[in-house]
Amino acid sequence: MAATDPTQETARRVAIAGNPNCGKSTIFNALTGLRQKVGNYPGVTVERKEGSFHGSHGEPMTLLDLPGSYSLQVRSPDEAVARDVLLGRLPGEARPDVVLAVVDASNLERNLYLVAQLLELDLPVVLVLNMVDMAEQAGTRIDLEALRSRLGIPVVAMVATKGVGLVELRQALSVATLPRPLHRAPMPALFEEEVGRLAGTLPADAVAARAEAMLLLGLHGGALDELAHHSPEVVEAARAAQHRLRDAEIDPVSAPVDARYFWIQTVCDAAVAKAEGGGLSFSDKMDLVFTHRVWGWLSFLGTMALMFFCIFWVAQGPMDWIDDLFGWLRGVVEGRLPESDLRSLINDGVLAGVGGVVKFLPQILILYFFLGLLEDSGYMARAAFIMDRMMSRVGLHGKSFIPLLSSFACAIPGIMATRTIENRKDRLVTILVAPLMSCSARVPVYTLMIAVLLPASALWQKVALMLAMYLLGVGAAFGMAWLFKKTLLRSETPMLLMEMPPYRWPSPRSIALRMWERALLFLRRAGTVILALSVLLWALATYPKPADPQATRAEAIAQSFAGRMGHALEPAIRPLGYDWKIGIGLIGSFAAREVFVGTMGIVYNLEQETGDIEPLRDLMQAEKRADGTPVYTPLVCLGLMVFYVLAMQCVSTVAVVYRETNSWRWPLFQTAYMTVLAYGGALIVYQGGRMLGWQ
């Protein structure tokens, strides 16, 4: 038996396509294991996941996990990539040899819509009927043989989470010559005629002329990006064809959709037997609680509270261990190397930079654990459902809620999570306001400033002030989102049309894999930038060296480049009540906000870094201006906190926004508006407070 076509020398390229929530990724992971490469498609910020696996005769194959899509008539950048890969339009991306269509067996009708479009591509299609166990539990029996003959393609039944059907899937993909689909949804005769005519106007090298023509005919007037792909003559021909169809009382937008669903209905009638009724399903019962007027809110708030508890308290232990580890490493370096610039570079530049990023890893992992859990269990859609009303008040979508929530841990995963937002403008607005949510790097700064401001106050007062800072960030984020939606990124509140998937037990393996992937991505994205900046800041704080070798650390930093920058900055920040020493702290914060605490320790010549804030607090409280008045008046402390709430002091976020928006325009604009906001906020606190006679 021939394993592979002898003429086919390269590995067979398989692309997995399917709706969101159909278990595509589980199948991808099951086939490829850890042999996967995660990257981006060139020029767009859509994640590209490719892996390799072996067919049932050991022949190598590659597997491309396409973004989940509902239709080839696209509405998001993700879906556009799936369409472009399948049509062979993407430069540098070879058209796949086989399409592996994955459908959720318990939601066959709707899932088959995309399959009906895939059958029109003139590529071999293998269908995976995933989650057949769930379908059977719901009383749905699917006749595989009938499905095969009606669809005219190989069909494999699977329970991907348990590995059921994996052998059969490998076999189906290893068949030497996979035939093109035998059937497709019949279109109205006139429509079919126009498709043929329009396909004829396409360039001769169009690989899937019929499929392209189908998409063009079904386009509504607003889909300009799709039209830009074609020549003006083709667009003109498509418009003319649409007119002719409308004259014949065929609506080009709805006719192909209706025809496909009609065909799907006949396929399902022949292949699916449903036990009707049977009362409430498991999901329905869960939703009685999770979307309930009272219990829904309580469970929602409880889930969020649990997530934050884990991010801020459970992560504390591992974060301390990481701190200890880096402290130990510094000790080792100090023991091995004599006092020199090299030692200082390794300890205060490299180790401080790497440690500052790695320290956040426990929080990021916990965040991704929860996001994976919420997403795979189906709760994410409920969270968006519950929150949509509030989000739509500021012109956003329920889906913007999760990125904003994630930004409480760190804006970077939050910004990366905006990819699920379909509309470009809404995604941009969400990205622009995400860093206003108080991330965990701000906590050390808030803690220090609260300690300086309220040294003797009760705990509840400190907590209340901390909470006020969080609320200020949330308020600013929503306010700015509303403003951007009204002005710069003016658009209608996006349409919400969201599938509510049934609740499912998440697969630990798939969540673990995703945590690992995301954590690596975070380290790469944030780590490289922070490391580079940390070394740069070290150099600024170290050079030029003081003439007097006996100079203290504080004297050294005062006349270094960083100190000079602090002095240069002083006129600009004097209206906020800050002196040049605070200026140094602000400059240092650009690597990561919590660096402020360490920088202040150096500026005020803290003898011993013990990790307790009391010594630094006392030094800061004792700090006097030239005229003998204290530097850290209540207004300065409060203003400084407000500044940290609102300012974009995070170069890795800037870098990630650049990557996600593919231009410098948005990250620069974002930095500018947040700086204005922060400066304005601190100015109002300080000058406004003084006008009211406070200090």
């Binding site: 939601n107 819509y113 079904g218 979307t291 949509d388 599938e499």
Partner: protein, 82 residues
């Protein structure tokens, strides 16, 4: 009653547990296409399952799955009660 043809009304006016059939749309082509592709085609039967705690969006069941949409768009879906 001998109503000749059942009058169509807006989906947004339906309550929980009420069932109907899609009769047509009064929406922009883009929105119409999205609803169609999610299976809300003319003639399809649905049931209103629930409303979000704040009263909007609403969730309907059709073609064996659940879909949520805002009342604003649901107002543009003309349906016939069954």
């Amino acid at each position: 009653m001998t109503a000749p043809a059942p009058a169509s009304e807006a989906l947004s006016g339906f309550g929980v547990g009420e069932r109907g059939k899609v009769a047509g749309f009064a929406l922009e082509p883009e929105q119409r296409q999205r609803l169609l592709e999610m299976g809300l085609t003319v003639g399809v039967q649905f049931e209103v399952v629930r409303f979000a705690p704040m009263g909007d969006p609403m969730e309907i069941k059709l073609r064996g799955y659940h879909l949520s949409l805002r009342k604003k768009e649901a107002a543009g879906v003309q349906v016939v009660r069954i």
